[in-house]
């Protein structure tokens, strides 16, 4: 006798309650099999739909970006001469040597004596243009000696200094014969890549008599 005929015979011997239970179990088992069969097709269709919608979004974004790049090219050619200004204000790389030279010029112009300049963790190399550029801080401290009016003149010069800088703290100590010792905690900014670890000097945690920013 064929196996399925044996199953039918056994099924006929069951009571109504058992037949009902068997029917439910068979239905649920069939549903499980159907779910398992249809699952790969559903996931595949969902993936394809998602890829199509993402590709449409990417296409629109790329078209918008192309228009923006073209506009940027036109603007760049229009302001080509002013790029030197921007590079002076926010240079690519710290350009610390040029910056110190400019600071010395400002100090000399204000007839002050620069007794100490200190900076830490300054990246000296110029970052590659294709690297991920970010605005970085260049912290440093200056110790100056001179008269108060000359010190005031230096502050005015710093305010009109093209490189974007910020005076964090200013500490003035009076000496004899109208002379003062002044220490400045400053930060200048530049385009750089990678992490720059900021180390604050002990003076930055002491008193600040004045604060000025540009």
């Amino acid at each position: 006798m064929l196996p399925y005929k044996q199953v039918f015979q056994q099924y006929e011997t069951l009571n109504d309650k058992s037949k009902g239970s068997f029917a439910i179990a068979a239905t649920v088992a069939l549903l499980i099999i159907l779910v398992l069969l249809i699952y790969p097709a559903i996931t595949y269709i969902t993936k394809v739909n998602k890829e199509i919608s993402d590709a449409k979004g990417a296409k629109v974004a790329l078209e918008t970006k192309l228009i923006a790049i073209e506009q940027a090219r036109v603007n760049l050619s229009q302001y080509q001469e002013d790029l030197k200004l921007l590079d002076s204000a926010l240079p690519l790389g710290s350009k610390v040597a040029d910056h110190v030279r400019n600071l010395e010029r400002l100090v000399k112009g204000a007839k002050l004596t620069l007794t100490n300049i200190q900076t830490t963790n300054v990246p000296l190399s110029t970052p590659a243009l294709n690297s991920k550029l970010e605005t970085k801080k260049l912290p440093y401290s200056l110790v100056l000696n001179g008269t108060f009016p000359n010190f005031q003149r230096l502050l005015e010069n710093l305010e009109s200094f093209i490189r974007i800088s910020q005076i964090k703290t200013l500490n003035i100590e009076a000496l004899s014969k109208g002379r003062i010792d002044g220490s400045l905690e400053m930060e200048s900014y530049f385009f750089g890549s990678g992490a720059v670890v900021e180390v604050s000097s002990p003076e930055s945690e002491t008193t600040s008599n004045n604060e000025s920013g540009q």
């Binding site: 058992s18 239970s21 068997f22 439910i24 179990a25 649920v28 088992a29 549903l31 499980i32 779910v35 398992l36 699952y39 559903i42 996931t43 969902t46 993936k47 998602k50 890829e51 993402d54 590709a55 979004g57 990417a58 974004a61 790329l62 918008t64 970006k65 923006a68 790049i69 506009q71 940027a72 603007n75 760049l76 229009q78 302001y79 002013d82 200004l85 921007l86 002076s88 204000a89 009109s160 200094f161 093209i162």
Partner: protein
């Protein structure tokens, strides 16, 4: 025995359905755009702020 089997089968069906729904949700929420393309489609603002340039020119005077 058969009652236990029905319960097990129903729970299996519920688990399978939930698993399928979560898989579809994961597919729909995850981006299929590769990361280089994602970087390329970052928006770009082409406008140059003229006021900044004017301020810099004034600072030089």
């Amino acid at each position: 025995m058969s009652k236990n089997l029905v319960t097990i089968l129903i729970l299996t069906l519920v688990t399978l359905t939930a698993w399928g729904v979560f898989q579809i949700f994961r597919i729909r929420t995850a981006s299929t755009i590769p990361s280089p393309t994602q970087e390329q489609i970052q928006p770009l603002n082409p406008t140059i702020d003229q006021a900044v340039l004017e301020d810099l020119k004034k600072a030089l005077q």
